[in-house]
Subunit: 334 residues, 2 copies
């Protein structure tokens, strides 16, 4: 394991410091908590605040998505660990514009607990109304009937985008929550891991895998997938991932989708576009219309190898939020 | 070596196909040559055309930089190999708006030969005037007195940006060439490699390196660097890279710079921001003002590990080109 770091104990704080210094026109740390970052832009009074967060190691997720059209603030956790309630509460207080704050995070026990506690504190101590939408897009992580048990993976990007746009459009808290949850209900992802990442402090790989193996349905912290098998071609892999998504989602001929092919960290853009090529072929063959596409590293797992495919089934409302422009340090859309 | 590919012989063509299908609102292949890609946007009549290109494997370089504010077209080569004159000529013919075309590429023998041949053919066969600016930003690759012998690495991003903006501003061919060359003269990079990439067809690593070693000054095809040494901390590495740049460039107190910390492919954003943190500290200590910063994977080498640091010394003219907005599939700046 080779890392460009200093003392591994400090990686998150040093990354955050570097990030804030690289993008002072976008983001700042709150003086009350250095893991609490908020936008520097003036947001409209009464705009619902959008708060995101989770463990570090998923960059650009999550701090890369604070900015115009996306989140107003982020609570930063340790590597692959939820932030504690404290930075979440500090961000909440800072971004509340008298219309409440919506928390967006992935469905992991630590996040559910810490964001839940922060929401209670915001309500009881600060009289701030908090809504929540929890990402559960990972098809591989639980059966269809138990979508609420599924993990959140790269599809979180679309949920942030939906909520950020809704808040910009002037929706109230209830509406922003509705649209964010609808975005989640319309979003399905399937991932594959080919090589692990290494925790900077322990040096341990996130999972074990043979030299000619891949793991279908692997979670983005190395959680076990559906099955380990021989490394397949990009086309066969795309066939498999997309097939699982199409069966689970019921997306079919005549539907319109947003597509995300997300790299986990060390997979070249070349490979991602080769996977996208096949995804586009299949969707086209099946009469499913691609409205917009994102290909790149959007939610990573340090230097993990592999990718995920995400489809979001669009309707007029979701098309409108996907069109909304974004201006964040690590994601800009005109 | 694990890749998400099909037949390795087809990686470039399949990548290009995936890319064009992912971004049909931005880019298209010319029917005359599938390695010749051009913007789909309407460019102003008489705008000088900007043509970029080089080997594949550097994505987002180079095809990711075709769009508003950057290049009008790109010629795509095989992995780490120059495109032949044919796609270069086809792009030239397509993007020429009666004001000539400027070629931007890195200082590699194959590129110099092929772009040179294409320029001659454009002149003799098509009566199109061609100008050129060749990137030579890699401090490690030749002594200061022989800057014209240096390789082009990540600093090419700034040269594209300068030329793209100048062409948008309505400058004529001579002026665009002058500004692009000036951008190159004001740009210095230093890289480090920690792990090789693997050629999809041969499966061979781009260089050999020990488990606890790094190579300072490594080129982005694995060309030998200045020295191999033990893996250093991010801070010590940043000190070394920046020190070499500052000595070579003469950038000093009171100067203003654009900064790029570029990942080579598999280096987490976490590590890049930790390196940036130290770069910012040093520049701040030395009284050098950072005007703007870019941190991420801008010119990669497949899954190579490592990064580079680039400084561009700004004046009023170069500040103006850096401010110019960009809208490309893999790089958007508002």
């Amino acid at each position: 394991m080779k890392k460009l770091v200093n003392n591994p104990v400090n990686v998150v704080d040093e990354m955050v410091e570097g990030y804030v210094r690289a993008h002072p026109d976008y983001i700042k740390q709150l003086s009350s908590n250095n893991r609490a970052l908020v936008t520097v832009r003036e947001t409209k009074q009464n705009k619902v605040g959008i708060l995101i967060g989770g463990g570090s190691g998923h960059e650009p997720g999550f701090m890369g998505y604070v900015g115009e059209g996306m989140a107003d603030g982020v609570a930063v956790g340790n590597i692959f660990s939820s932030p504690s309630p404290d930075p979440i509460l500090e961000v909440t207080k800072s971004i509340n514009k008298e219309s409440g704050v919506v928390y967006l995070y992935g469905n992991y026990a630590g996040d559910v607990m810490n964001f839940g506690m922060a929401a209670e504190m915001a309500d009881l101590e600060e009289d701030i109304e908090v809504g929540m939408a929890i990402a559960t897009d990972d098809v591989a992580s639980a059966p269809k009937e138990e979508k609420e048990k599924r993990r959140g993976i790269a599809g979180e990007l679309f949920i942030y985008k939906a909520a950020g746009a809704a808040a910009d459009f002037g929706c109230n808290l209830e509406e922003v929550v509705r649209i964010a949850r609808k975005a989640n209900d319309h979003t399905w992802s399937m991932g594959v891991g080919t090589s692990p990442c290494y925790h900077p402090q322990t040096g341990k790989p996130s999972f074990e895998i043979g030299d000619d193996e891949m793991e279908i349905g692997l979670g983005h912290h190395g959680e076990p997938g559906l099955e380990k098998g021989p490394l397949e071609t990009a086309d066969k892999l795309a066939d498999r991932l997309l097939n699982d998504i199409l069966i689970d989602s019921g997306i079919t001929k005549g539907d319109e989708v947003a597509v995300l092919v997300n790299g986990l960290g060390s997979t070249p853009k070349m490979d991602l576009y080769i996977v996208y090529r096949r995804v586009e072929q299949i969707l086209s063959e099946q009469g499913i219309k691609i409205y917009c596409s994102y290909v790149g590293d959007y939610i990573t797992s340090l230097e993990m190898g592999g990718c995920s495919v995400t489809l979001m089934k669009l309707d007029d409302e979701l098309t409108k939020v996907m069109d909304h422009p974004v201006n964040c340090p690590m994601f800009v859309q005109k």
